[in-house]
Symmetry: C2
Subunit: 457 residues, 2 copies
């Protein structure tokens, strides 16, 4: 391993630090710059060789790239932006404020400007915003030798040269994708089409989701997937390293949202206090207000509560079991939907599986619940009163009902969210628990009314 | 897009189906075979051209590869196994039962046998079990032209040729990693070392974790990371597509475990009923038994409960808020630790952030709680008795205490798990909620005892 540990000195000499960092990998330099304030990072970047500075700015791991770019004098930063890959440059432009944004855009060379402008038109979560326009394409009339010569010429300015796209010379429609490994083993005098695989290339629309790009690259083991518009013309490529960054980002979002908060895309220690509160308070308040229904429900059962305080002892136990089984089911279904193992229309097949699963799991907990009450009663640890057997039957029956209900709600919620156009991953564990809690109380007191009528109630 | 939808016919003619599938992408053929029972899949594979059958078996998306291999006659399956990439062949051997496993192993050619044997020695979650031995390496004495000629020769049998590894001719120690794109633009008469980047290559140990391989490939945008043993010799490579599969698998595991169950690595509809119960019942029972402490706690507060039944109305509301804030904090910290944004020693910095965050969030909920009780009381929706102001103060103070406690427990649990050698991702939302619930009750009744002593209590 080959990583750099850079201590943050009290006084930073940008030139000295730049000299020390110059030999490191761009990702390691970016990590070192993340330890500095944007102004210092900007000073260090200016002291690095231009191609190193460009490579560092090209690293998605670099924080506050917008602020760093703003802190570099215009005439120094323009060559850096022009040298960057178009997709990353577009990301940086998104972080810039006006008037700096327009000012810098105006000074870019026309080719870069056109690419960045085009990339900025796509919505944030689309393939269009993830792709780069720096790919290698050749007309179908070329030979293998011509193509290889072209690859050598443009190698420096392309994000990948390992997939070469063959276009119809007139319509510019994408015909084939040739891996470089096939090209270097082919006869140089052959047509480039002869070196191409027989199959039509896997392609994606610029309006498709990032998840779809991930799925195609992962399924077909691609290094890049070509992005084609409605007319079949090649407009960009999504490379495997962009996809990896997107998956890791998505994974963090998914876990945070499942934990019941808005996703945060900056490292934990970099989140400001106000933002931390904002991202967490929203869901926490929404859940709190929904959960108030439990108070209303219990107010409704006040008569039962006064007659049989012993019932209250099991409320947290029973309610949490419903939430837990719901949380399990939700986590299973969020992933099954994300991985496309299941479609929306499969909801009833899932419901038919969750029903017996919930009954079985609830029964297991019910038996444990009966054992707990019986043991405490027999060994004199607590006196649940003369009707303790009926009480334990109430707890067990309520557990079967609530765990089954929890499994059903937890498994159906991701389908409901997808059906109404939301991301199934918005179904968080606390959300499911809150949904289940009120009904759980109603089930518990309903079962109690049935079993204990005439004795405790 | 270019995907196949294959309807499962009632009667399957393997030869006809094979003819229809032969032109598809291997990943699509694998998907079609997943719809069939292993015996039918085996029959179809035998009807495909050998290199297509090999490519399908090489697809990680193929289910039950072990059973399929067992269903193919020995003399037909041996060439397929020999043609597969060594890492995937090793995965398939892991799925085979004895005596088939030893029988097939004995019939492999000696090179494949040695590779598979070596790969099988590494533990399941290690880089060694993820890597392949099929890489391109050349001695440092070779020229660019010699190296390119070698790449052309071995292209078919190597998992990737886009990174070429330059070894010390005597010690076989890894010196450099040369990207193919650099090689094809270099002077053919130069030494291969001259085409290599100045930096030492990023490497990994076969005993490192899969997460570490993912992190390196993602950070440095690599197509493959070389695996070197203690002596610096190259023993394999981990390619980016293996890493993507590992990340996606890990993501599913992380969400499922956060949902409070054991991870399941097969698609939802393929899980047997018994396995589904087993994977879910374990944690559900453990959480249920722990949550029984809430019953014990409430038994301890029976005196208070009898005097002030009104207190019970807020128990579900207050307890769930503690669990929710804990779940948020846990989800944040699981990802921060997984992405290495934080180390174990940073626990106190996190605690110092979560303390004010929890107090702030608890205060927000406390204000909403007071508003709720006040509104209901003033508008006559419910009568909380003459001491309703003190009651609302109790609820608010308890919320501050419980939400703060929840945030602290939720954020510290991942650190504790890592410190005692567990995966921080084992800290599930239900686990945190259960930990917080008992203490939440104690805090609530403790605050009530302080504020309501002499009035309600």
């Amino acid at each position: 391993m080959n990583e750099t540990v850079t201590d943050t000195e009290k006084t930073v000499d940008p030139a000295a630090l730049a000299a020390r960092l110059a030999g490191e990998m761009p990702a390691d330099i970016a990590e070192a710059l993340n330890e500095e304030i944007p102004q210092v990072a900007a000073a260090i970047l200016q002291n690095l060789p231009l191609d190193t500075a460009v490579a560092v700015l090209d690293t998605p791991g670099l924080h506050d790239a917008g602020e760093i770019v703003e802190a570099i004098p215009r005439d120094r930063v323009v060559p850096m932006l022009s040298g960057m890959s178009a997709d990353r440059a577009a990301d940086v432009f998104l972080e810039l404020d006006e008037p700096v944004r327009s000012e810098l855009m105006a000074r870019l060379d026309s080719e870069t400007k056109a690419s960045v402008r085009q990339l900025l038109t796509y919505p944030e979560e689309s393939v269009g915003s993830l792709m780069t326009t720096e790919f290698v394409s050749v007309p179908a009339t070329w030979t293998v030798a011509q193509t290889l010569q072209h690859v050598r010429m443009v190698e420096r300015s392309r994000e990948t040269v390992y997939a070469i796209y063959v276009l119809d010379p007139r319509s510019k429609v994408l015909l084939k994708a040739v891996p470089l490994r096939r090209l270097i083993t082919a006869d140089p005098n052959d047509s480039v089409l002869a070196a191409a695989p027989a199959r039509r290339p896997v392609t994606i629309s610029p309006h498709a989701s990032r998840e779809e790009a991930t799925r195609l690259i992962s399924k077909y083991d691609l290094l890049a997937v070509p992005v084609v518009d409605g007319t079949g013309q090649l407009v960009g490529i999504v490379t495997v390293d962009d996809v990896i960054d997107a998956i890791v980002e998505r994974q963090t979002e998914e876990v945070q949202r499942f934990g019941g908060m808005e996703a945060i895309d900056v490292p934990y220690m970099d989140i400001g206090f106000a933002e931390m509160i904002r991202k967490r308070a929203g869901w926490l308040c929404a859940l709190f207000i929904s959960e108030m229904l439990t108070t209303s429900a219990m107010q409704g059962f006040q008569g039962e509560l006064e007659k049989a305080i012993v019932l209250t002892l099991f409320i947290p136990l029973i309610m949490s079991s419903g939430g837990n089984s719901g949380s399990q089911a939700t986590s299973l279904l969020i992933r099954a939907l994300a991985l496309r193992e299941l479609q929306l229309i499969d909801w009833w097949r899932v419901a038919l599986r969750e029903l017996p699963t919930g009954i079985m799991l609830g029964s297991i907990l019910g038996v444990i619940g009966i054992a707990r009450i019986t043991l405490w009663q027999i060994f004199g640890l607590y006196d649940y009163g003369p009707h303790w057997l009926l009480l334990s039957a109430t707890v067990a029956a309520a557990l079967v009902g609530i765990v089954t209900f929890g499994s059903m709600v937890g498994s159906m919620l991701p389908f409901v969210l997808r059906a109404i156009g939301f991301d199934p991953a918005a179904a968080s564990a606390p959300f499911v628990a809150t949904l289940v809690d009120v009904t759980g109380l109603v089930i518990y007191f309903g079962v109690a009314a049935l079993i204990l009528r005439g004795t405790l109630l």
